[in-house]
């Protein structure tokens, strides 16, 4: 049979041109560092070993075991709208800590310089003199937190910002009270797995009436091969407090798929506000879809108190598979939940992401703004749930999810579920799917912009509603990230 001639668009670039213009994933390097890693596989002994390595109290170990036993009874979910090969849970090493000469660094200066160099290369200088003013960073490398900046300064205000391991040792009463209260160990397959094997993560506690003066942030880095990252973040905002929290992540380029199964729990008490922003840039695999991170994350916030507010902002630009539904349980009266998301998929990435807003309290409000951009042969899904329970008098929701398609081999789907069980609710939902407006493109080209710059500008405008929710430095970063990802996919 004669192969059909590949059609070429008028302004199509050759493959070589595309290659030239498309910048490689710049965080794809590997750090050569000696690591303390436990054997592959998962069983009760492994969990005991992890717990032992972290010198954890018995209650923590028992909680892990409980989660593990529950996990063994569960089945991997396959309802999301994407395909992937089977994951070998016994082929993963669940604990990978970089070996350092100084096992217990007192300050950032004592951290292994090789690690500091890695983070510097990623654009996250940890050393105090170079740090970004106004941002405190907790850096997580494979399974452990390697350092947290600004701790002393924050502690003066009573703010606890440390790794999860430290929190288990130093603040067990808080961890015991809140861990698992939003995402129980029985929640879903990946959350249960995380509860059993989580290795580290960030812990943050804002006391009553304190407005956190710094942006708190965690930077996640996967380095070791044949491993996964299972971190757990817990943020508690006491009455009347405020915190803005950022999260970023990268991983090396490898042909194998690596699993990242995190859990994030947020708790906002009366009048408290938590703003959680993510710029996710895990390695997404190459053009043919080889390699990349499987990102299965459970993120959930609980507006426990009256007038509390939780706001999620995410820019999802990486990972071979993203399965993530940052949700808000609006339990306190008058509480507010927000979700702003930009999900960009290229190559053969698959994303099934969205949010859940569960209205329980009276006069609760929620707002969802989701922008999906899919290019190349990727698959981009929005899946959202708005649930108004009978107790939620006068609940209000507004959702808007728009998708943009670039190229004719990509897919964009929307699955919004709206369940209203109270007749005083007002719920609005709107969604659209379209391609880049040809007239806008033409106009920009007539002003001397090349196609790529024009597309970047239009997409930038398309995502503006979300970007303006991001903290300043992050917004700039996010715009750059999208531009870089779009390079070579337009033509």
């Amino acid at each position: 049979m004669i192969k059909a001639k590949e059609s070429k668009y008028l302004n199509a670039k050759t493959i070589e041109e595309n290659k030239l213009s498309s910048r490689e994933y710049q965080y794809g390097f590997v750090t050569e560092i000696e690591a303390d890693r436990i054997p592959k596989g998962i069983n009760e002994d492994i969990i005991r070993l992890i717990s032992e390595k972290k010198k954890e109290p018995t209650w923590m170990r028992d909680w892990r075991l409980k989660a593990y036993r529950h996990w063994t009874t569960m089945k991997e979910p396959h309802w999301p709208n994407f395909q992937y090969g089977p994951i070998d849970y016994q082929g993963i090493s669940y604990y990978n800590a970089p070996k350092t000469k100084n096992q217990d660094p007192k300050s950032i200066e004592e951290v292994d310089p090789e690690l500091l160099k890695t983070f510097e290369k990623l654009g996250i200088p940890l050393t105090e003199q170079k740090r970004l003013t106004g941002v405190a960073v907790d850096a997580v490398f494979d399974s452990v937190s390697v350092g947290t900046t600004h701790q002393a300064e924050l502690l003066k205000l009573g703010i606890i910002f440390c790794s999860m391991t430290e929190a288990i040792h130093n603040h067990p009463e808080l961890v015991k009270k809140y861990m698992g209260s939003v995402v129980p160990h029985t929640d879903n397959f990946f959350a249960s797995l995380n509860s059993a094997v989580f290795s580290d993560g960030s812990f943050c506690y804002i006391p009553k009436g304190v407005r956190c003066p710094l942006e708190l942030s965690t930077y996640f880095r996967i380095n070791a091969a044949e491993s996964g990252q299972f971190e757990r973040t817990l943020i508690i905002a006491e009455e009347g407090s405020y915190v803005s929290y950022l999260e970023g992540c990268t991983a090396p380029m490898r042909d194998e798929n690596q699993l990242h199964a995190a859990v994030v729990e947020l708790i906002a008490l009366d009048n408290a506000e938590i703003k959680y922003s993510t710029v996710q840039n895990w390695y997404s695999g190459d053009k043919e879809g080889r390699g990349g991170i499987y990102n299965f994350v459970t993120k959930r916030g609980k507006c426990l108190g009256k007038n509390s507010k939780i706001s999620w902002t995410q820019v999802e630009a990486g990972a071979a598979i993203t399965w993530k539904y940052p949700s808000v349980i609006l339990q306190g009266d008058n509480s507010i939940g927000e979700f702003y998301s930009v999900a960009l998929t290229n190559h053969r990435m698959q994303a099934d992401t969205g949010t859940k807003m569960i209205h329980i309290g009276k006069n609760t409000r929620s707002r969802v703004v989701s922008k999906g951009i899919s290019t190349d042969e990727s698959n981009n899904n929005y899946r959202g749930l708005i649930k108004i329970l009978p107790s939620a008098e006068n609940a209000r929701n507004y959702s808007n999810c728009d998708s943009m398609l670039v190229g004719n081999k990509c897919k964009a789907n929307t699955f919004p579920y709206i369940e209203v069980k109270n007749s005083t609710a007002v719920v609005e939902h709107e969604a659209s799917t379209s391609k880049i407006n040809a007239e806008q493109l033409f106009y920009l080209r007539s002003r001397g912009l090349d196609t790529e710059a024009a597309v970047a500008l239009i997409i930038n405008g398309f995502c503006k509603d979300v970007f303006k929710e991001l903290p300043m430095e992050f917004a700039v970063e996010a715009i750059r990230l999208l531009e870089m990802k779009l390079e070579g996919s337009v033509g």
Partner: protein, 440 residues
């Protein structure tokens, strides 16, 4: 498949095996096979539960817990007065009572040339050459459970065939009446409408009962085939008894440049479910799917629409509105699929709900599945109440609150009713809506 296994699943029909034998008595071999295939498929699929994504919000266990009987007697209607009030003798009327054709009540005189209106039974007996082909147009394996069940148990239905280039001005009205006294009846009417190239017609299909006390189960199926350039205006008006169950499927197959202009009214039934599937299988097809549901008490109405854009340059437009009162429930699931080849698709969908009752529930799921890039698709859904300010304004004009609510609800409904191009149909639908508005 052993018959005993079938009995286990089709428990909701009394003496199922015997009934089936009576049904198949005079049928030609191909029809027997066709029915058997449907039954096998149904038994393989089983009765859907809320664990099936398509039935997530509609629990049909109250339907299948009962036992129904098939009926083979000629339909009788003692009091024909309400029917006469509803029908217009000047139009073509096909009346089925309990799923069986009633010659006496129907009016099919002076059919124009090129218009064939008969019952399915007649078409089978007269060996209509096209019938078998039409019935086998859809891939049986992808059929849903209740479509398969209809296939297995269809006794009769309307068969409408419009030849090429024929324009029918008079309304064709198909009326399904269920009227029982002691028995709980199961009927599965199957309507087939096929329009030739460049033809035009208007069809209204009504499902009625003149008492709200009767319990029965209607599992209806309507298949519509539109040839090139054909235009069909079609309305399904469902006003079953408030204790009855209605599961209906309408499948539309559209060839190049054809137009389907549909309206679906749902008022009756304790549980009513409609599946409306449009396959835009030709370039430049156009589909309009409008709908209205007004439910109260403990009613549940479930509308599933699916528009499948298979070819380029097609458009589809949906507007579904609902008023819910009491402790009623409404489910809306609108799916738009745009296949990779279907470039230049325009597709719109809107679902609006007004909640008047304290305990009513709405579950809505507008869904887009897009595989092509040069498309414009939007969907929206709103759930809310009548505007307090508007009610207040009317009250300052000395209009009692109840009247104000009625007026505003009427306005909400009229918006979609006004899109119906045929006056006679609007009059009929208003006649069905009247008692509901009176009770608001």
């Amino acid at each position: 498949m052993l018959t005993s296994e079938m009995d286990k699943i089709v428990t909701f029909i009394k003496d199922f095996e015997d009934q089936q034998k009576i049904l198949n008595n005079k049928a030609p071999q191909w029809l027997k096979d066709f029915r058997k295939q449907g039954l096998t498929h149904f038994t393989q699929l089983g009765i859907p539960t809320i664990r099936d994504e398509e039935w997530k919000y509609t629990n049909i266990s109250p339907i299948v817990q009962r036992t129904y009987e098939l009926t083979f007697e000629d339909g009788q209607l003692l009091n024909t007065e309400p029917l006469e009030r509803y029908c217009d003798p000047k139009e073509f009327n096909l009346v089925f009572v309990n799923g069986i054709f009633s010659q006496k009540l129907s009016q099919l005189k002076s059919l124009p040339q090129g218009v064939h209106i008969s019952t399915l039974q007649e078409a089978i007996v007269s060996h209509d050459p096209e019938l078998e082909k039409l019935l086998k147009k859809y891939d049986a394996k992808s059929e849903s459970a209740f479509v398969a069940l209809n296939r297995a148990l269809t006794q009769d239905g309307a068969y409408i065939k419009i030849a090429d280039k024929v324009i029918v001005n008079k309304l064709i009205h198909i009326i399904h009446i269920t009227n029982t006294s002691d028995k709980e009846i199961f009927s599965s009417p199957h309507t087939l409408i096929t329009l030739g190239k460049s033809s035009e017609a208007k069809v209204l299909e009504s499902h009625l009962a003149f008492s709200n006390e009767m319990i029965y189960f209607v599992n209806a199926l309507t298949d519509i085939f539109l040839g090139e350039n054909a235009t069909l205006w079609y309305c399904k008006a469902q006003s079953e008894s408030l204790k009855a169950f209605h599961i209906g499927a309408t499948r539309i197959w559209e060839e190049r440049n054809s137009n389907f202009n549909g309206f679906s009214l749902d008022l009756g039934g304790r549980i009513a479910r409609n599946n409306l599937d449009v396959a835009l299988s030709g370039e430049g097809g156009n589909a309009i799917l409008d709908g209205l549901y007004c439910v109260h008490g403990g009613q549940l109405v479930d509308n599933h629409t699916c528009v499948d854009h298979r070819e380029p340059n097609a458009t589809s437009n949906q507007l579904y509105k609902g008023i819910l009162n009491g402790a009623s429930r409404a489910v809306f699931n609108g799916k738009i699929i745009v296949r990779p080849i279907a470039q230049k698709t325009n597709s719109y969908q809107l679902n609006k709900n007004i909640l008047l009752g304290k305990e009513c529930l709405v579950d809505t799921k507008p869904q887009l599945e897009i595989f092509a890039d040069d498309v414009k698709c939007t969907h929206g859904a709103t759930i809310g109440q009548l505007n307090e300010d508007e009610i207040f304004y009317l009250r300052t004009r000395a209009i009692p609150k109840r009247t104000a609510i009625k007026m505003l609800s009427r306005g909400f409904v009229d918006d979609v009713l006004q899109r119906i191009p045929d006056e006679s149909v609007v009059r009929k639908l208003n006649q069905l809506l009247e008692p509901i508005f009176a009770a608001l």
